[in-house]
Structures are given as C-alpha cells and as structure tokens.
Symmetry: C2
C-alpha cells in the first residue's frame, strides 16, 4: 500500500486524538435506515483500526432523526469495544436515556448563530444554552464527561460570516457551564486558515485554553485539511473527522462533506504525528461501509488506496 | 454567492501568481478530443476570469498526445488574450514549432526519478536533461522564458518515496541550465506539509532561491491544499492549479486530480492574498467546460458554488 514518507514539521503536536464522528454525524444524514448490526460492526471495525474516541449515536427523539432511533439497541452492542464512546444528548430526557445505558461521555450541540439555533433547536442561542445547563450539570455530577459542540463558528447560511466575538461568547458560556471539551464546527465549510487562527487566538485570550478545544471542519469547499493544519499550528490536538468522509448537516444549505478521517490520517502520518490509527484497516472499514450503503466513499484517500490499478 | 471571510495570517505572501494548467495538463488527459474552438474559448474565459498565466498547449508529437495535436491551430486563436501563454515543448522540434507561432514562454518536462524518466521519455534522467539543454539554451537566446517542470518530487509509483537530495540535484541542473522557473510536481499526490518544507529548505540551501520555485500538487489523497499552505509558509508565491480540478497524469498509477484552481482561490481569498482572479467567473468557466466534457467538475468549490439549493 502506498503511504506518505514521514517528515515532521516544526511547531506541531507529537500526538493528535481523532474524535471519530462517522457513526453518528455521518450516518445521521443517510436517508435509508442502516441496520443496527451494521452500525455496531462499523463501530467495532473503527475501534479495531485504532480509533480511540468514536461518537456512537444520539439520544435525540426518534421522530427527529429516525436513523438514530435505535440508540438503545446499538449502545449495548458496542460498549465492550473498550474505546471512548461519547453520545449526543439533546436535552435532559436524552441524558437520562444515555445514563441508563451506562454512557460515560455525552455531548450537547449548540449554535454560534441565532439563525441556526432557531432552525435546528427552535430556540434562541441563550434559550438553547439554558436548556443545556441542567444536562451539563447533571452529567458532571455523575462523573460523566461533556463535550460541547458549537456549530456555525465561521459562516452561517443565513447570516453570512460569523463575528469571532460572537463565537467566543457562546464557546465561553459552554466552557463556564462545565463542558470539558469544546468542538468548533465549520458547519458550512467556509473557513480558511487565517480565520481559524484568529478564532483560536481570541478564545485563548478569552481564557478558554486550546487544550480544551477540538476542531470540526467540513470539506464543502475543499478547505478542511488546510484548516486542520492551521489549527495544529495553533496548538490544537483534538480533531473531529468522519471515516470515509461520511455525512454533513441536513439543515444547513450546501453543508456537505465532513473531513474524511483517512485524508486526515494521511497528513498526520506524513507529519509523524501519532494517532494510533492503522490507515489500511481504516480504509478497509470505509470501503466495507460504502458497500453496505451502496455508493463510493467521497474520501480521496479511500478512493486512491482502494483503486485497483 | 457564498464567499470566505477575509482574515490574513502571518508569514504569508501578499500576492500569489497562479499558473493555470487546465488547458494543457488538464485537457491532455481527456480521451475524447475536445474541439479546438472549445479549447480557445476555455482559455479566453480563464483570461477573462483574471488568470494571468495560462499554459495553453503542448508542442509534443501529435502521435503521443492526440488531444493536443491542434497546437498550431489553437495558439493563434488565443494569442490576443494578452496574458502569459506558456507552452510545453518536449524537444528542439517542439521548440521550433512554438517559436514559429510566436510563443514567448516555453516549458520542458523533466523527472526526478529514473523510473518515470524511462516511462515518460524513454531516457535516463541525465539523457533527458541533455535533450533539454539545447532547448533551454536556444529559448534563452531568443529571449523566451523557460519553465522547468520536475515530476515525481515526493513519491514515485515504482520507486516509492523519493530522496530529497535526488530532487535537489535535478532541480539544480535545470536551474543551472537556465530555466527561470522550476515547478516541483507531486505527480502521485503523496506529499505532506513537512516533506514540502524539507524540500523547499534543501533547495534554498543548495542555492536555488524560493522566488524561482513553483509548486504543483495533486489531490490524489486530498493533500494538495494543505501542502500549498505549507509551501506559502515557506515563501513560495507561484502555485500551479487546474480550473475545475481537470486532469492528472495518464502515465502514473493512481495519479488523479490536479489541485482545483477554485479550491486554491477560495483559500487565498480567505487569507487576503491577491491573485487577480474572480472566483465567480472562474467557477462559471469550469461549469461551462464540464458541460462541454459531459461530466461534473471534481472541484469541491465548483460543486458547492454551482449547487442549486
């Protein structure tokens, strides 16, 4: 198998933790419902490929995301993989369901813009934060880790460019609430490296340490990996990615294409940054899932490595 | 039209010159022969979109690249665009043909590896250099600018990773011969940012100034734009790209996907780096050409910007 030559670059972390979102963020955009056993096998194979954090599912009301209505059935099937298995919880009811199954990490999903908060949650930004507060507080009381997702951190399909100060305010609110990790989402994929650097610097100056930040880039305009490089150069060590490039955001105009985990691993391996992931096993997993879904992976690395010459 | 927010980053050039290769490197991989008038219109539209350097065609023997057998007919049709129109010349016969039509810039195409020199030119690396020497010398005597392409600068499908010293030796030979610009090609798309930085640094130390270097990345593994960012951070100001992501290399295993000019312009515009290119006009040009070719552009930016919501 072709692999990159390893040549480190200065000023980059020695290790990056990949937060794999394919099984949740990726699959939730699939129209045809994927069988629970396929999802479980997908998660087991991702764990087998060396991914240490695999977002497993969402305890959202089944009416809103029918694809993930099997959370209660799925979670027990994968609990024994031995990896971190965060789950999305939209509210206290979702938290109850997750805790009842023994989830040890949960995530809430906030928005940096009023338009998306309204579209996604039918709430203002502050109303959404108020809804998350008891979720976060109760999770912490149970010793459960909480990740705060923040969407639309760079641009918004209704509002256009999003002011950095606005993103800092909501991120800080989530951090102050007790979220131990904040994932900055470029939901519509418009960010560029200078913008990434400016937001990370502003958050740092506002007292949110970079060690608590993750980046979540979309490849809508082909920018996800260069933005990731910029984030690494600013000290970020947690990167969200989706195996095979699965997914996007169904509520956001033109928001297609999570950063493919394979494209990310290729770059990190070339840079000599440890991830624990075996690129061959990961690619095989994405090829296998693409067969289950009946269409090819959009990841360029998956396509190139699985190409029969 | 959605556009990135402009946020400059430190340590990057104020302006980048894009060397547009779609009309030559892109089209030469198309099996169905594109009518000469369509090629001419493509080049005129690229010039209209603000591209200042458009590689127009190749004066290779028609037997080898039937797609470009119309070089004599095409070149006079686009000469009046007023932009720089370099043309590829494989040997002295090609140079004669280009000079007869009034070409003011030519390019030769060398290889950093023996395997590709053999496959592409049926010569050793040094035999190929010897063949180029009179081409370069005569072009300079005529006051014609010469670009030297160097392929397989990072990896080679037969040889694997390519040692940096080997690339430095051949690049220096082309520079010493008189090529005023050297384009470093990642023909199979395997490079990563640290490798890019190491090669640029080594060339600089060997006396080849960065101002004479261009980078030519392929997106086979999704790495082209992050490698470009790394090159800009090392002072490179000339970047090769192909409108709509047209092309690849027919002789190199898995070598698909030139960096799409639109994806590059998106990043540069976001960084506030001047290119003179109008992204809307450029995208419209790639959409128009895709219609002529009968299939969608692989550029993510073209797809996103031309998507009907």
């Amino acid at each position: 198998m072709t692999l990159p030559m390893t040549v480190p670059a200065e000023g980059l972390p020695a290790r990056v933790r990949i937060h794999e979102v394919g099984a949740r963020d990726g699959l939730q955009n699939e129209k045809a419902v994927v069988p629970t056993e396929v999802k479980a096998e997908f998660i087991r194979r991702l764990a087998g490929a060396g991914l240490s954090t695999i977002e497993a599912t969402s305890f959202v009301h089944p009416k809103w995301v029918p694809q993930l209505a099997d959370a209660e059935q799925l979670f027990p099937l994968v609990r024994e993989t031995g990896v971190r298995l965060p789950v999305l919880v939209p509210n206290e009811r979702g938290l109850d369901r997750a805790l009842a199954l023994g989830a040890r990490e949960v995530a809430v999903f906030a928005s940096a813009t009023e338009s998306f908060a309204k579209a996604n949650l039918n709430r203002t930004v502050d109303e959404a934060l108020a809804m998350f507060e008891p979720v976060v507080t109760r999770a912490i009381e149970q010793g459960v880790g909480v990740r705060g997702y923040l969407s639309m951190c760079f641009g918004d399909p209704w509002e256009g460019p999003v002011p950095v100060e606005q993103v800092v305010r909501v991120t800080k609110a989530l951090a102050d609430m007790g979220c131990d990790e904040l994932s900055l989402g470029d939901t519509i994929g418009v960010a560029t490296p200078g913008h990434v650097g400016r937001l990370l610097t502003a958050l740092n100056e506002a007292g949110v340490p970079t060690s608590r930040l993750a980046v979540h880039f979309h490849d809508t305009y082909g920018q996800a990996l260069s933005n990731t490089l910029a984030a690494l150069q600013h000290g970020v060590t947690t990167v969200d990615a989706s195996a095979g490039g699965l997914g996007g955001c169904p509520y956001a105009k033109s928001a297609t294409g999570n950063l493919a985990t394979e494209d990310l691993v290729w770059m990190l391996q070339g840079l000599g940054i440890k991830t624990g992931v075996d690129l061959g096993l990961l690619t095989a997993t994405s090829v296998w899932l693409a067969e289950q879904l009946g269409r090819p992976s959009p990841s360029r690395t998956v396509r190139a490595l699985s190409h029969k010459d």
